[in-house]
Symmetry: C2
Subunit: 153 residues, 2 copies
Amino acid sequence: MKRNTKVNSGKRSESVQNCTCFNLRKATRAVTQLFDEALKPCGLYATQFTLLAAVSSKENVAITELSKALVMDRTTLSRNLKPLQKSGWVEVLPGLDKRTKALSLTLSGKKVLKQAMIHWKEVQNEVVMTLGNGNWELLVDNLSSTVKKLNPY
Amino acid sequence: MKRNTKVNSGKRSESVQNCTCFNLRKATRAVTQLFDEALKPCGLYATQFTLLAAVSSKENVAITELSKALVMDRTTLSRNLKPLQKSGWVEVLPGLDKRTKALSLTLSGKKVLKQAMIHWKEVQNEVVMTLGNGNWELLVDNLSSTVKKLNPY
DNA sequence: CATATTTAAGTGTGTATACACGTATTTAGA
DNA sequence: TCTAAATACGTGTATACACACTTAAATATG
């Protein structure tokens, strides 16, 4: 007798439980909370730490250019910069091209990034250890190649 | 002569480029955009599809209970349900316990989920194929175990 | 050189996310 | 039983994210 509890072809990937998007978002929530917590003493969120680090390594970068590197919508980046400007950590100056802007860290921004780096290393190490170094490397490699393969830019 | 371009101990995990949180969020952005695009004809976002599917498989579940299963803050779930209620896809009724609520899909919600499932399978298959089945399985396994290991619930 | 196209950025709008704080109900303990 | 603690949920607030639409500047094209 055929049981009718069968909801898919049997392929693992066809179960909603294994939705790539859901699993990514779920893991992102869990990890982001850890990093946010770790960076709290510095008064910035994980996403903001990422932005500071990105601007630091690409002084005078324009918004659209940086947004492509971060695989982030241009308008999202623009708006995510707002709280960092407000805190006086990021400066947005006119670029050479009159259309563009040049992003840079203020002195205060460099200081907070330096402090944050310490806390970041701690939580990053904690996560690497919890996952196991091999698993962590596999995860990061997989995430990178996923972005490379799917990212339209 | 010692070069002073060295910014970390040499451990791969200590480079901000390899921040677990950043890489997860970046991949999530890329993947979410694909799923959002694929589900657009049904008028719902990837996150909303996930919610409909979750409620469908757990009729009369309470908000906090579901939020734990999704590794999502209770208040986030509450608010994410709002647009689904507004669209008439999810019903939020009083639960047995006077404190709790009982979530369920409306008839209309079941219909839209059924349609969305078709589009979801397409994009899910596309992603699995693009990554390669082996890589995809590795990724999902790694994400699951990451959540299991880090999730405080 | 004038105009069409492309490129860089901003605004409006709506969803996703979570913490801090507050209220109501239930349960546990004296 | 009466009260303290635990549980379920809502609201205020702030950040994260992206699409559609708009404006301004640079470049390409006739």
